[in-house]
Every structure is written in structure tokens, then in C-alpha cells.
């Protein structure tokens, strides 16, 4: 069990909701005091499936419970000018502020052209996550994880050739942006002694656009990359086996030699020229049926174990449950069971990375809607309980 964590004593105000939640959660697991600020009715993510079976209402979403664990939570309508004094008070002693403003959920006090937030203290690192950035012709476009993935260029390469392109499910590109947001917070803190607070902007469109050498690949030859399976040199890809599927990646000559042995060294594949991907790509039509026939005779587990022993990068093509039930994460005690006051025992992925000494730890369940309003607005920031009542009646909190 980690102690208070390397970020103990740091304070983070989190207005980044669904888009930035994974990164601020990591900061919280590292020991920072992260206060999630939600709209008075709760983040839309509070109704995002999957829900706890039999549960309804603002605490039912397992997704929300996962992404916001280890944080505290208050409610505040940050689209209204009336929120300004509360935000100033809340952020007064913050070391970092993380925002994810959008056309639907703007943040009062943010000046996108000046790259400044009026209520953030001068010494804070302010990180702003957006779909397209705070400038440029697309800055006000609406986006979701799905449409961002589509715009970013990666989606066109995914899915069956000729069929509809497919986006990676759920929200992992948001989580990747959130990770870079957390990294920016930590990097900003490292530079704090020199420059003090600053503003960091991160665009999801740029994060995705920079991946998989999409731009340089086009610039090099003006070729447009198609769906992934159409461009692979065999045997890289997914293969049907006796009792399931295996995925193989043969990148270099030793991988190929191991793979050839794995499938019984067929004489048709003895030519050393096949060690080069280009040669295999050229003879793709001849190689595919041969490999398919050999692999179809063997069970997945045996293929993976023997393949790995021969130095071939390969893995079972699991259903999601197959990963959950695999002995590897179990042996590493990966899955984590925590208690939530409404959801009860909840099993989730555990630490995103291991370390010696341990740096990450689950600190507390995700906040219930408005759970820390009284403790933070009144107890810590000194507002009168009457004021809290008025704000509630006014729909501000």
C-alpha cells in the first residue's frame, strides 16, 4: 500500500469531466487532493452505461464510479458568472486547474484568445483539454469521442475492408488526452520554480493526428492508407485456430523463422527471401492458405505457448471477459475491489502501473453527487451555510 503518495499536499481543481477524468484520477491516486466540480445535476457521465445492475439515479454508473474514484466532489454551475467568486475561492490555493470546456459546457472566466482563466491563481498550472484546440476554424465545432476519432484519421483505417470504419469503443482517446493533461500538470510543476504558473493547451485532434505517422506517411509518397488488414504482410494478422483465434505479429527475420518452425516448416516457405516482409507481401495470395491450413489444426493455448517459446509475438484473441479471467492479471493481483456507499463492492482494473515503492493507491470511492459541498464550500472555504442554501435554491450549486 502506498503512503500518502508523491503528490500529497498538492491541490487540483478538476473541471475536466468525462474528457479529463482519467488523468485527474491518476493525480488523485498519486496523492493529490483533487476536487471534481460538476454541474448541479451531475455530469452526464453519471448515467453512462454500464450501470450497476438494479441501481438507478446519479450513483448508478460504474463508468462514473471508476473514472472519479479517489477524488472529492462539489457541484457548481460553472457556465454562470455567479460562479466566479466560488471558483476563485475554490481555486485560491490550487496548484493546478484542469478544464475541458466545450460549446455545450463553457467555463466562465476562460478567455480562449488570451489563454487565461480569470479565477485561477497566477501560480497555478492551468491545463485546458479540448477536441480541437482554442484557436483555428474548428475550435467551436461540437465533438464526441466517436466524432473526434473519425476526424483524427485513425478510424478510416479500422474495420472490415469495404465496410464501415470503426471507432475504438468507449473513451480511450479522451483518456490518452487526459494522460497528457496529467503529464502537463506534472511537467508544469517541475518548471514552476522558473516560470511560476502557466497555461497548457492540448487538442484531441492533434493527439490523434500525430499518431501512426499519418502525416509523414502521406507527405512521403502521397499515398492514402486504407483499412489495416489489407496492408499487412503475412502472417501478421488474426487467424482461426482449432478452438478460437490467435493474433500473430511477425516483424523481423527471427520472428519469421520462429513462425515457420511453429507451423511445421512447410517446404513451400523455405525460401530465405520470405524473411523480408516485402517478399511475403508480394506472395501474400500463396502464403495465406498455407498458413491458414496449418494454424487451423492447433488449439489457441498451445499455439501461443509454443509460439512464444519460439520467439514469435502472438496472443490469444480474447473476448473482453477472456482478459478478465486470464491468469496473468490475476497473478499480478491486478483487479481491485473497493467499496462504494451506494454500489457496494465494485471490482475494477487496479493500478495503471506498478512501482517500487508503490506510488498509486485507491484513496476513496467516487464522490456522490454534491457529497463534499458542505465540507468544502462552508467548512474549508468559509462560506456561510445560509449562502449554500441560497445557491442551491438558485440552481447555482
Amino acid at each position: 500500500m502506498a503512503d500518502a503518495g508523491p503528490l500529497a499536499g498538492r491541490r487540483v481543481v478538476d473541471l475536466s469531466g468525462e474528457m479529463g477524468g482519467y488523468g485527474t484520477r491518476l493525480l488523485a491516486e498519486l496523492g493529490a487532493d483533487v476536487v471534481l466540480v460538476e454541474p448541479p445535476g451531475g455530469l452526464p457521465q453519471r448515467t453512462r452505461p454500464p450501470l450497476r445492475a438494479g441501481c438507478t439515479g446519479p450513483e448508478a454508473s460504474l463508468v462514473f464510479a471508476y473514472y472519479h474514484s479517489s477524488k472529492r466532489g462539489v457541484t457548481l454551475d460553472v457556465t454562470r458568472p455567479a460562479a466566479l467568486p466560488l471558483l476563485s475561492a475554490l481555486a485560491g490555493s490550487a496548484d493546478a486547474v484542469v478544464l475541458a470546456p466545450s460549446r455545450r459546457a463553457p467555463v466562465v472566466g476562460l478567455d480562449p484568445d488570451a489563454r487565461a482563466v480569470s479565477w485561477a491563481p497566477a501560480g497555478a498550472v492551468v491545463v485546458c483539454l479540448t477536441p480541437f484546440g482554442l484557436s483555428g476554424p474548428y475550435r467551436d465545432l461540437r465533438a464526441t469521442h466517436l466524432t473526434s476519432y473519425a476526424m483524427g484519421g485513425l478510424m478510416k483505417r479500422m474495420g472490415p475492408p469495404g465496410g464501415p470504419p470503426r471507432a475504438v469503443p468507449y473513451q480511450q482517446m479522451h483518456d490518452q488526452l487526459a494522460l497528457h493533461g496529467a503529464f502537463a500538470v506534472l511537467a508544469g510543476w517541475r518548471d514552476h520554480a522558473v516560470v511560476g504558473g502557466q497555461f497548457v493547451e492540448l487538442s484531441l485532434h492533434e493527439l490523434i493526428g500525430g499518431q501512426d505517422d499519418q502525416l509523414d506517411r502521406y507527405a512521403a509518397a502521397f499515398d492514402i492508407a486504407g483499412r489495416v488488414p489489407a496492408t499487412q504482410a503475412p502472417p501478421t494478422g488474426v487467424w482461426r485456430c482449432l478452438d478460437g483465434f490467435v493474433e500473430v505479429l511477425v516483424h523481423n527475420p527471427p520472428h519469421w523463422r520462429g513462425f515457420r518452425t511453429l507451423i511445421g516448416a512447410p517446404p513451400e516457405l523455405a525460401d530465405p527471401a520470405f524473411e523480408q516482409r516485402g517478399a511475403r507481401l508480394q506472395r501474400r495470395a500463396a502464403i495465406l492458405p498455407l498458413v491458414a491450413d496449418r494454424l487451423a489444426r492447433l488449439p489457441v493455448a498451445e499455439l501461443v505457448e509454443r509460439g512464444q517459446a519460439l520467439g514469435v509475438p502472438c496472443a490469444a484473441v480474447n473476448e473482453p471477459a477472456g482478459f478478465v479471467d486470464d491468469p496473468q492479471p490475476a497473478a499480478r493481483d491486478y483487479w481491485r475491489t473497493t467499496r462504494h456507499p451506494v454500489l457496494g463492492a465494485v471490482r475494477t482494473p487496479g493500478a495503471s502501473f506498478r512501482s517500487t515503492p508503490a506510488l498509486l493507491a485507491h484513496r476513496s470511492p467516487a464522490p456522490m453527487l454534491g457529497e463534499h459541498n458542505a465540507a468544502i464550500w462552508c467548512g474549508e472555504l468559509g462560506f456561510a451555510p445560509d449562502a449554500l442554501t441560497t445557491w442551491r435554491e438558485d440552481g447555482l450549486v
Partner: protein, 377 residues
């Protein structure tokens, strides 16, 4: 402006995407990042991956290519053969004055060079070592080789999404960067080093948590269909004018549904959010006559979340990328000028940027040894 992570000395054995891109991100924030490369077995990423592009060779004979160039900008390169006692000594001397070591070797490689955890800690007790692997350094699959596509399959994504090679390399990059700076915070507080065991399957499982939660908590094995966004009123892609042209649309709530009814001129669907098939048909009809960008701009003007499914050419020409200067040209000594995506972290006061093109094998050996150790190699 400040040079950010300047003064931070990073040694990287990082290869492929996860290792190289992590090192590059640190270098472009100002860290002094030194890639250690074997002169006998250079980074596998250097080997030509696109058969249609010409083979390019550095003056000393090592290959290079656009992929390596795009993923290893701004780092310096020191050639060391760790199987040679002299080079191993040099590595030890560099490690003793480094802050961070990154590796994504197969499990056991560092041990074979006599660089197991105890030895690393003995050489540099303040070292932050970020070790990235497919399955982690312990457990029955610790020795399994894994590329991004293998991890994609293992996690269940090839089934519910598509086979893909790099998604979980990039999730590893984000985690490695956070783990490294968190490790440095810990080191600065305690004076003691940190060893990070980052399994790409575990970091990947963490960002794909929603895919597993229903099974983990409710025992349910259902998964969303293609482009289905759980909780949305409607989500998907619709074919547009042309071949393999698509628009992605998501109606997040009832307000969006009503906007869509007006946009598609289907008042009959107003107030009928369960008529999802009819709405899909309406989008299909509407999109058929429009290009993806026409459809996107019209839907956006109406107020909907819609995006053209862009390909690499669209991206190259993308008005947003051009306006924000995201596409930058770097002149590489062996590959010539090429366009790359710029570093994504836009700090107001920390200088972030491309320091120089990707290095040749051993290009900076003498320079780094002189700077770090005050001697000749």
C-alpha cells in the same frame, strides 16, 4: 520561456513506438534524452516498413526511414554494444549521472547484461527506471513478447473493434510519461529511486475499463456493437457521396434528436427517440448526396456533433491543423524535408518544440560522453 525539463537526464533503451515516442515527448519538453542504440542491432523501427518507399541508409550503413524519423525526433543517439565490457562500463558511468532510464525490452534482457534491478540501484540509488512491457515483469506471461496488436487482441479489442497495431503503444506512452514524472516527485521527496513496472496490458485495461465493468461487477458479457456509444440516442457512421466516404454522427440526448429531425426534414420523428432505425435511414438518405465534409459542416451548423471520417490526405490538408501550425516540416539529413505532427503540449511559458531531426546511429556518442562524463568515449 523556460526549457522545461532541461537538466533532466534521460537514458532510453526505448524502441518501437512505446519506447521511442515516450523519449521523444520528454526531449521536446527540454529533457536531455539520450537514446542508447546497439551499433550491431539498431532499433528495429529503422528497418523499412513500407515496401513502396526507397531504402535509405545512413553514411555508416544503418537504415533509417520516415517512421523512425517521426518517432525519435529531438533525442541524441549514443551507440553502445552492451555485450562489450568497455561499452557496458560507459553505460554504467552514464547511468550513474542520469535521472531516468526507460526500457521496453523483453523481460530478461537487462538481467542478461548484468543490469538487473539490484545492479541498477547500486549504480544509481536515485534512478527512476520506467520499464515498459507487454504483460509486466512478473507472472506466467512475463516472458511473452508483445507488440501493440498482440495486446489489442489479448484485451478483447480485436473482437469488439478491429485488429490494430499501435493503440496500446500510445496508451503506454501516456502512462510512462506520468509514471516518470511521478517517480521523480517521489525521488525528490525521499532521495530514493523508483522502479516502475508498466505493463501495456494493464495500462490498456485501465483505459478500456468500461469494456470490462459490466462483466467485473454484474457478470454480464454483452459488449457494444460497432460504433455504438452506450448512453447515446444514436451513434454511427453513414455512407456519403463517393467511394468509402463516411460521416460519423452522435446524438447525445433528446435535444440533439430534435435538431436532427429538423436538419433531416423529418418532423414525423420528432418526440420519437425510440425510432432509431428510422432516424438511421434518414441520415443514410441525407448523407448519400453529400460529401463527408459537406455533411459535417451542415450538421455542425445545425448544432450536432458530427465529423467526417478523414483519411491521411484529409488530415494533411486539414484546415484546423494548417491554421494551428500543427503540420511542421523537418529537414532530415538522410530523408530530406518531410512533414510531421508537431509536439501536442502547448505550454505558455515552457518552450516545447522539435530540437533536431531523428539521429543517426551513434551520432552523438562523443558529444554526450564528453558532456556527461567529461572524457572521451
Amino acid at each position: 520561456m523556460s526549457d522545461g525539463l532541461a537538466g533532466l537526464r534521460v537514458l532510453s533503451f526505448g524502441t518501437a513506438i512505446a519506447g521511442n515516442v515516450t523519449a521523444m515527448a520528454l526531449a521536446e519538453l527540454g529533457a536531455d534524452v539520450v537514446k542508447i542504440e546497439s551499433p550491431l542491432r539498431p532499433d528495429p523501427l529503422r528497418v523499412r516498413i513500407y515496401p513502396d518507399l526507397p531504402r535509405v541508409v545512413e553514411p555508416d550503413g544503418a537504415e533509417t526511414n520516415i517512421m523512425f524519423a517521426g518517432f525519435s525526433r529531438s533525442v541524441r543517439d549514443v551507440a553502445l554494444d552492451l555485450k562489450s565490457p568497455v561499452d557496458l562500463d560507459t553505460f554504467g558511468a552514464l547511468l550513474a549521472v542520469a535521472d531516468v532510464l526507460i526500457d521496453n525490452f523483453a523481460t530478461g534482457v537487462l538481467d542478461r547484461w548484468g543490469l538487473g534491478p539490484d545492479r541498477l540501484a547500486a549504480i544509481n540509488p536515485r534512478l527512476v527506471h520506467v520499464s515498459v512491457s507487454g504483460y509486466g515483469r512478473t507472472g506466467p506471461k512475463a516472458h511473452h513478447l508483445a507488440y501493440g496488436s498482440n495486446i489489442n487482441a489479448f484485451l478483447g479489442l480485436s473482437r469488439v473493434w478491429a485488429p490494430h497495431g499501435t493503440q496500446f503503444d500510445y496508451t503506454a506512452v501516456g502512462h510512462a510519461l506520468v509514471a516518470m514524472l511521478a517517480g521523480l516527485e517521489q525521488r525528490d521527496r525521499t532521495g530514493r529511486g523508483v522502479a516502475v513496472d508498466l505493463a501495456q496490458t494493464e495500462a490498456g485495461g485501465a483505459v478500456m475499463a468500461p469494456l470490462y465493468l459490466d462483466y467485473l461487477v454484474n457478470g454480464a458479457t454483452g459488449v457494444p456493437g460497432p460504433n455504438e456509444v452506450p448512453g447515446a440516442m444514436l451513434s454511427g457512421v453513414f455512407p456519403c457521396r463517393g467511394d468509402d466516404e463516411w460521416l460519423a454522427v452522435e446524438l447525445e440526448d433528446l435535444a440533439d434528436w430534435e435538431v436532427a429531425c429538423a436538419l433531416l426534414d423529418r418532423p414525423d420523428l420528432s418526440g420519437r427517440p425510440d425510432a432509431v432505425d428510422d432516424m438511421r435511414e434518414a441520415f443514410t438518405t441525407w448523407c448519400a448526396g453529400l460529401t463527408p465534409h459537406q455533411a459535417m459542416f451542415r450538421a455542425q451548423r445545425a448544432g450536432l456533433a458530427a465529423g467526417a471520417v478523414q483519411d491521411s490526405e484529409d488530415l494533411f490538408l486539414d484546415a484546423q491543423h494548417r491554421a494551428r501550425g500543427f503540420t511542421v516540416t523537418v529537414d532530415h539529413p538522410d530523408l530530406g524535408p518531410l512533414d510531421y505532427g508537431a509536439p501536442i503540449h502547448r505550454f505558455s511559458r515552457t518552450a516545447v518544440g522539435i530540437r533536431h531531426p531523428s539521429p543517426r546511429v551513434g551520432q552523438h556518442t562523443a558529444e554526450v560522453v564528453a558532456e556527461w562524463l567529461g572524457r572521451l568515449p
